[in-house]
């Protein structure tokens, strides 16, 4: 029975959480803290704080951790599956349809029309990240790190993983 509850607790935020993982955090909190009482508000905020300081997608990290706490390994699997699979399956079906007709002019037109929207969405995310950085470490550090990483990644084609490790080192030592 606990697994059914875990399923519901992460299925609902996954299916109504528009705007990616971060947007579904309050929904997860509502289920986990308010509805099922698995964690207190304090515990949830600690889990969230640690989750935010670790890499990787946040919603599945919360699902995996809380699922594990509540129902062990099987609980973690159920929580991640409930969070991810419904929209993933829908996505696979829809993209398969799209792929089947990818040479049709209408589908090509979809690609052309949608591209500017993607540019705007990514542009807004870009702004969010730079603004957050400006608030955290100020404008000069932000510009310095952005310029250096631009040169390394885009000009000299160094894999981002190395640049991110370098940024860690720099941040740990100087920020």
């Amino acid at each position: 029975m606990i697994y059914w509850q875990i399923f519901l607790a992460f299925f609902i935020p996954g299916i109504v959480g528009y705007g990616g993982g971060p947007a579904s955090i309050p929904l997860i909190e509502h289920e986990v803290v308010d509805r099922y009482g698995w964690l207190t508000v304090q515990e949830f905020s600690e889990v969230l704080a640690l989750g935010n300081s670790l890499p990787g997608p946040i919603a599945t990290k919360l699902a995996g951790y809380i699922g594990y706490e509540v129902g062990g390994v099987l609980g973690a699997v159920v929580a991640i599956g409930a969070n991810v699979l419904p929209s993933l399956i829908l996505m696979i079906i829809l993209l398969n349809v799209l792929l089947k007709y990818k040479d049709s002019p209408k589908v090509k037109r979809v690609t052309v029309f949608v591209r500017p929207v993607i540019a705007v969405l990514l542009g807004l995310l870009t702004w969010d990240f730079f603004f957050e950085s400006y608030i955290n470490i100020g404008i000069w550090q932000t510009i310095l790190i952005a310029v250096v990483s631009y040169l390394l990644i885009e000009r000299w084609s160094i894999h981002p993983a190395f640049v991110i490790c370098g940024a860690f080192l720099y941040g740990g030592l100087f920020l």
Partner: protein, 191 residues
């Protein structure tokens, strides 16, 4: 087997180096999937992002799951999901067990703060990539107007991007044939 290993490594790196939640990892997925392994081209990646944004739920796991599925079916999907999620979840369980208070973790703040501009820069590069793709098809003026309009709708009118993308898809499918041909000829000359 080699392919499964590559899928695992690609999404392991995405999961372990993606700081700032799912959206921050989009440029990393692009680097791995389009630039490094060339499993998809930039257009397909754009379509996947568009649909991923239109459907609910976490974006990176949707990308990982779909791309894994696309490359090598169900095993690829499970592989990509595991690679992008499990390592950090294990880290999280381990740390929550061993650390009594999150406050001991303050020094990590500086390290992560330095990664944020790197992510911003990669996101900017990807933004430019998609904008210049749009520019190839629609020309400078049209794509700037188009982008400005979309920006206005999303940022000021606060319409969810899912609705805009859905509306554009419907529009693309129902548009009259005469205008379709001009769109096609533009695409032809542009590329």
């Amino acid at each position: 087997m080699k392919l499964q290993l590559e899928i695992f490594l690609a999404f392991f790196r995405v999961g372990i180096f993606g700081y700032g939640g799912g959206p921050a990892s989009i440029p990393l997925v692009y680097k791995e999937v389009v630039d490094r392994y060339k499993w998809l081209d930039a257009d397909e990646f754009g379509d996947i992002i568009a649909l991923g944004n239109t459907l609910p739920g976490p974006i990176i796991t949707k990308l990982a799951g779909y791309i894994g599925y696309r490359i090598s079916g169900f095993p690829g999907m499970v592989n990509a999901l595991v690679a992008s999620n499990v390592p950090t979840i294990l880290l999280m369980i381990l740390l929550m067990k061993s650390i009594s208070s999150i406050k001991q973790f303050d020094w990590v703040g500086g390290m992560i703060a330095a990664v944020v501009p790197v992510v911003g820069m990669m996101m900017a590069a990807l933004t430019w990539q998609f904008f210049s793709k749009a520019k190839q098809n629609l020309g400078w003026l049209k794509s700037i107007i188009f982008c400005a309009l979309v920006f206005f709708l999303i940022h000021f009118v606060r319409i969810h991007p899912a609705f805009i993308i859905a509306a554009l898809v419907v529009f693309a499918f129902t548009k009259k044939d005469a205008r379709k041909e001009t769109a096609e000829s533009k695409e032809g000359t542009g590329t």
